[in-house]
Structures are given as structure tokens and as C-alpha cells.
């Protein structure tokens, strides 16, 4: 294995996956501006009906965060169905002010020749795909969340010049997208008359099994894990692999603490064991790391570390 220079990874705040009010959004990102996160992804990636901020407001917010020293990336909608959604995508991809995260191949097509980030739903699983998209202008990629440590070792060894790797290290796993809105369905409402019920669930709705075990999170047309993927204990591994950016996915509570913990970790102010002591508090429904180990995503290998610190 080639020896890679170990450098301090940058921290990114992924796009918000839930529907918050304008007030909640602005307050949250104001706090983010003062946090040690390096990169902030903005924009609506789940549902085009969520319009607490219009596109101009997102741009204004982006400029504010840029002035605060953050690299700002605008994320595109993941599932594009309506003509109006495609129109909005066209406008977004024409803008040259910020780097764009493509969450669908339609966005890649519209960004051809420009620099772009390929989000986790673009399905990059192998070297040849990585190389092809790099030739098209991709400068950072976020692997599919089901890609584990072993394939990543291979891909990192052979990755093309000039492309960065960003990995989800903290957050609920984005697992599926649908034509159907599950939040509306849970309220017996048709999707076309959803009454914006997602606003009532700043961290999505819990879906449990009939044994009342937390299983999934319903978030409009998206399905997420109920558990939080936590790779903090893999920090040294991630650095050795040359992962450039660590992604944290926003929640309504605890996100700033999570950012601080990863910042402390990369600055060697705390140990992974000390971070582990916080996990239960920051991920009250539990954490998981199975995908990293090439297993079922919901599995967890952390007991030993967490046990040792409690």
C-alpha cells in the first residue's frame, strides 16, 4: 500500500435534510458561521415544496457564511420529477458564485465542464466511475453510504489527481427516495395536499417495528436510518486513508457539539474514547457503523470503546 501523507481533515456540514422554518434555518446557520466547520452545504435536497428560503435567500446566506470564512457549496435536489424542479436545477447550475453538489446525474449533465461535487446519491462505487466523473469536472466526491472501508482503501490508492474524498462520519444515513411522501401518508394526506406537515418534525418522524424498536426515520419522500452513523472511532483510519473532508449531517439538536468534538479530535485535544462518551447523548436512538465494516449498515462495533469510557 502506498504511503499517503497524513493531513488534518477538513470538516463539512452536509445539507440540512429536514424542513425547518425560516427563523430556525437562519438561527442555525448563524451559529454555524461561528463554528469550526470549514465547509457548509446549503440548499434543499429532499422536497421542492420546502421553501422556507427562496433561492435568493440561500445565496445571501451563502455569502454571509463565506464572509465568515466558510467554503460554501450549494446542493441540488436529489429526486427530480416535475418540470418546475428541472427548471430550478437549470438556474442553480448556471450560477458560478458557489461550487455545486450534484445529487443526481441531471445535475452532473448541467454542470459538465465546471467544477462540481458529486453527492452520495450519484452512486460512485468504483475506480472507473470515479475517473470518468473526474474528467467531467468532479473535484470532490461523497461515496455512497453503503461503501465500506475495504473498497475505500482501493479507491483511495488509485484515485485520480485532484479529486477530494468526503465521508459521512456523523449523521442519520440517507437510505432511500420515493415518489411517495411518507410524512403525508402517515397523516393520511395525499402528497399534493401535504399541508407541509414536515415542518412539525425538525428531525423527521420515527418509524419503529411492531416491537417498538427504532428502525427508520421518515422525512418526506426520503427514508433515513433511525440510528446515527458514527465513525469518530475510525478517525485515525480515516486520516491514514487520506479522506480529505469529514461530513456531519445536521440535526436540530447537538450538531454544534458534534462539530466541536470532531474539531477537538482533529486538533488532538481529545481522544476517540472521550468522544465515545458523548455518543449516547448525541445519538439518543443509538449509533451504528456497520457499513464501514462491510456489514449491515445498522450494525454497531462500538460497544468496546463506549463500554471502556463509561
Amino acid at each position: 500500500m502506498a504511503i499517503m501523507p497524513i493531513k488534518r481533515p477538513r470538516l463539512a456540514l452536509g445539507p440540512l435534510s429536514y424542513f425547518w422554518t425560516e427563523e430556525q434555518l437562519l438561527e442555525f446557520y448563524q451559529q454555524i458561521a461561528g463554528s469550526p466547520v470549514d465547509i457548509v452545504y446549503l440548499g434543499e435536497t429532499i422536497c421542492s415544496k420546502r421553501r422556507s428560503l427562496d433561492s435568493d435567500q440561500w445565496l445571501t446566506l451563502g455569502r454571509t457564511l463565506q464572509e465568515a470564512g466558510k467554503e460554501v457549496v450549494l446542493s441540488t435536489l436529489t429526486l427530480i420529477e416535475a418540470g418546475s424542479e428541472l427548471g430550478a436545477l437549470h438556474r442553480l447550475c448556471q450560477s458560478d458564485e458557489f461550487l455545486i453538489e450534484a445529487n443526481d446525474l441531471a445535475a452532473v449533465q448541467l454542470l459538465k465542464g465546471k467544477s462540481f461535487v458529486a453527492g452520495p446519491a450519484t452512486n460512485i462505487y468504483n475506480q472507473r466511475t470515479l475517473s470518468f466523473l473526474t474528467k467531467m469536472g468532479m473535484r470532490r466526491w461523497v461515496p455512497s453510504v453503503e461503501l465500506g472501508h475495504e473498497p475505500l482503501v482501493d479507491l483511495q490508492e488509485n484515485r485520480p489527481e485532484g479529486v477530494e474524498t468526503e465521508l459521512l462520519v456523523w449523521g442519520r444515513l440517507p437510505l432511500a427516495y420515493s415518489a411517495r411522501c411518507y410524512t403525508a401518508r402517515a397523516h393520511n394526506l395525499p402528497k399534493d395536499d401535504c399541508q407541509l406537515r414536515c415542518l412539525d418534525y425538525p428531525d423527521g418522524m420515527l418509524l419503529s417495528t411492531r416491537e417498538e424498536k427504532p428502525f427508520l426515520t421518515i422525512n418526506g419522500i426520503q427514508t433515513q436510518s433511525a440510528l446515527t452513523q458514527n465513525l469518530s472511532h475510525q478517525f485515525d483510519n480515516l486520516c491514514q486513508l487520506g479522506v480529505d473532508v469529514l461530513r456531519i449531517s445536521p440535526q436540530s439538536r447537538g450538531t454544534l457539539k458534534v462539530i466541536d468534538l470532531f474539531d477537538d479530535l482533529r486538533n488532538q485535544r481529545i481522544t476517540v474514547e472521550e468522544v465515545a462518551a458523548w455518543v449516547a447523548k448525541l445519538a439518543p436512538l443509538g449509533s451504528c457503523d456497520g457499513y464501514w465494516h462491510g456489514e449491515a449498515g445498522m450494525e454497531k462495533h462500538l460497544e468496546q470503546i463506549e463500554g471502556a469510557s463509561s
Binding site: R128, T129, L155, Y177, C181, S225, G297
Partner: protein
């Protein structure tokens, strides 16, 4: 409209061809295709026999290599592409950009169709695959309404195939990792959803429970019919209610809207079900053949024959059918 039917094995292939399929689609016996089930699919010898059988009777043969290879498996996908090309198949159905790039470079004359696993829901996404790899057709995910399908067809640089009958994915194909979240195996990486190897049935004093890798997918009372625990089709609790939170066990059936699909310019109708029996394939192919022929003859006067619908209902998952996302209120 071309009728494209599933061939999980040689008897199913023959059943499809004999009952009027214009084309059949198959996969090899490994994880390079999205129906990687035990005992299913074709080795080289059986593929040869099947291709000859279909070609002798004027039917085309498509081979699905529509999963996403990871570095350690890359050579297997490459070999599958080479093998399909050597066999002289008519079309490769592909989803992964790397696989398409390889196929285009190594076999420039081989016709490529974008698999439903490629998740292309807009003409711009289709344009990407068309410009980059010269795909000639795209299969649409089962998430678009009729109006949206028509918009895609109007702008698409290539022809469009839609699912016409069979089990229904409620999630966008190629973008659903629920199965690997629970079992480590997903359609994208392993070619299977909710794999049988992880299914467990448990009898309790009052009920029958189905589990997938330990996760309770559903619980059936004594007199309730039990279904396969495809994990999106179980009953779960949300907000204090227990219900089919994601999807009921139903089948897609587009028979009632065939003239509409034809008018919009749909190039091909696909039947799902490579995992189903030759008898299923025979029955569904026969009905779809009769329906498409009737629709071609007189699209304005077309109404689905009651006998066809009855026949399809006997083979539907959950014994009920839906238009799925094509019918807006379903969404």
C-alpha cells in the same frame, strides 16, 4: 410498443418467447445483475441455448448487467460484459457509469440501454448517459406520474421503456439502500433486496412473525395471509399507528392505460419478474401480448378485457394491483 419479458431461466425464456414477447431479458449467475437469487439466471451454456431459441423465433435478447461493481469485484463485471458481447446478445442493460465506460470502449458496436437502476428520472439525466455512452434507450424508475413520463419522452434524446406489470418498488430504483442497511446486501451491491438468506419465520402462540436479519418486518394473525418480508412492504409503527407505512404488497398493472402510454410514445413495456415461475411468465406475457395487439389495432376503442384483468390478478403480489406513481393520487 415492444413487449419485454423476464427470463429467470431457460424454461421462463421459452415461455416468454412462445407467448409473444418481442424481447426477453436475462442475467448471469452472479451479482452482476439485480435478480441475484439462488438457482436463478444463466450460465454460458444455458445463455447460448436461450439466445438461439429466442433468435430463431425472432425475439431479441437483452442481458442485464445492472448492479454497481466495487473494486474487488470489477473483473467479474468486466467478464460479464465480455461474455454477453461474445454471446451475441442484442442489448446490454447497464446502470454503472464505469461499466458503461468499459462496454463502450471495448465493444463500441454493442447496444446499451440504461437500466432502471440508473435512476434517470429526467431527460437531462438521460442526456448524460446518451452523450457519454451512446445509450439507445432508458428504462424509467417507477416514480413518475403520467404527465412526467410524457415530459421525459418529449425531451429525451433516446427511446423510453416503462414497467407495465409486476412487483412494485416504491423507492427510486438504484437509490434504495434499505436492504443493505438491514442485511448488508442491496440491489446496488449484491443484486438482491431483502435476501432470502436473512429471512426468518417465527411462530408465536398467537401469530406468525417475519424477520429480516432479526428486524421484525410484519406479524400476521392466524387467519391473515402472510407475504414475503420485502422490508418496505411490512407493517410498522409511526406516530402511534401501526400500518403499511411505506407500501402495501401490491403489483403494478398498466393495462388500463396502455393506449395512453402508446399515444405518449413509450417505446417498450417491461414485465417485472425474473424471480417468478415459467408459468407466471407465460400467463403475463400472453395477456400483455393480447392487450398490446388490441391496443395497436384500435387504441381509441381499447378497454382491457375482464378476463385479462382477472388472469393478472391471480398472479399479483398481495392479490391487488395499482397504477403506482403513474396515477398521481397513489403518491
Amino acid at each position: 410498443m415492444e413487449l419485454v419479458c423476464p427470463a429467470g431461466n431457460l424454461p421462463a425464456l421459452k415461455a416468454a418467447v412462445d407467448n409473444g414477447a418481442d424481447a426477453v431479458y436475462m442475467g448471469f449467475r452472479d451479482d452482476t445483475n439485480a435478480r441475484h437469487f439462488a438457482g436463478l439466471n444463466f450460465n454460458h451454456n444455458k445463455a447460448e441455448l436461450g439466445i438461439d431459441y429466442a433468435h430463431d423465433r425472432g425475439a431479441r435478447v437483452f442481458v442485464a448487467i445492472n448492479t454497481f461493481p466495487q473494486p474487488s469485484g470489477w473483473k467479474r463485471w468486466q467478464a460479464a460484459v465480455d461474455s454477453a458481447a461474445d454471446l451475441g446478445v442484442d442489448v446490454l442493460i447497464v446502470a454503472d457509469i464505469g461499466v458503461m465506460d468499459y462496454a463502450r470502449e471495448r465493444w463500441p458496436d454493442l447496444t446499451l440501454h440504461l437500466s432502471v437502476q440508473g435512476s434517470a428520472t429526467t431527460h437531462e439525466a438521460i442526456r448524460f448517459y446518451s452523450e457519454a455512452f451512446g445509450i439507445r434507450r432508458a428504462v424509467l424508475p417507477r416514480v413518475l406520474s403520467m404527465k412526467q413520463v410524457e415530459q421525459v419522452i418529449n425531451e429525451s434524446p433516446v427511446e423510453i421503456e416503462v414497467f407495465g406489470f409486476g412487483s412494485l418498488c416504491v423507492m427510486v430504483e438504484g437509490r434504495c439502500l434499505l436492504s443493505s442497511y438491514v442485511t448488508g446486501r442491496s440491489p446496488n451491491t449484491f443484486g438482491a433486496c431483502s435476501p432470502g438468506s436473512h429471512v426468518r419465520w417465527e411462530e408465536t402462540p398467537t401469530a406468525l412473525e417475519s424477520r429480516l436479519n432479526g428486524v421484525l418486518i410484519d406479524r400476521y394473525e392466524r387467519d391473515e395471509p402472510a407475504g414475503y418480508p420485502t422490508l418496505c412492504k411490512g407493517r410498522f409503527q409511526v406516530g402511534g399507528h401501526t400500518f403499511y407505512a411505506l407500501e402495501e404488497p401490491t403489483s403494478l398493472n398498466t393495462l388500463p392505460i396502455l393506449p395512453e402510454l402508446k399515444r405518449m410514445g413509450v417505446a417498450a413495456i417491461k414485465v417485472e419478474g425474473r424471480q417468478r415461475s415459467p408459468a407466471y411468465v407465460a400467463k403475463v406475457t400472453r395477456v400483455l401480448r393480447a392487450a398490446i395487439d388490441a391496443c395497436n389495432l384500435d387504441p381509441d376503442g381499447f378497454t382491457p378485457d375482464a378476463a385479462w384483468l382477472k388472469e393478472l390478478e391471480t398472479v399479483s403480489e398481495g392479490v391487488q394491483t395499482t397504477l403506482g406513481a403513474l396515477h398521481r393520487p397513489w403518491q
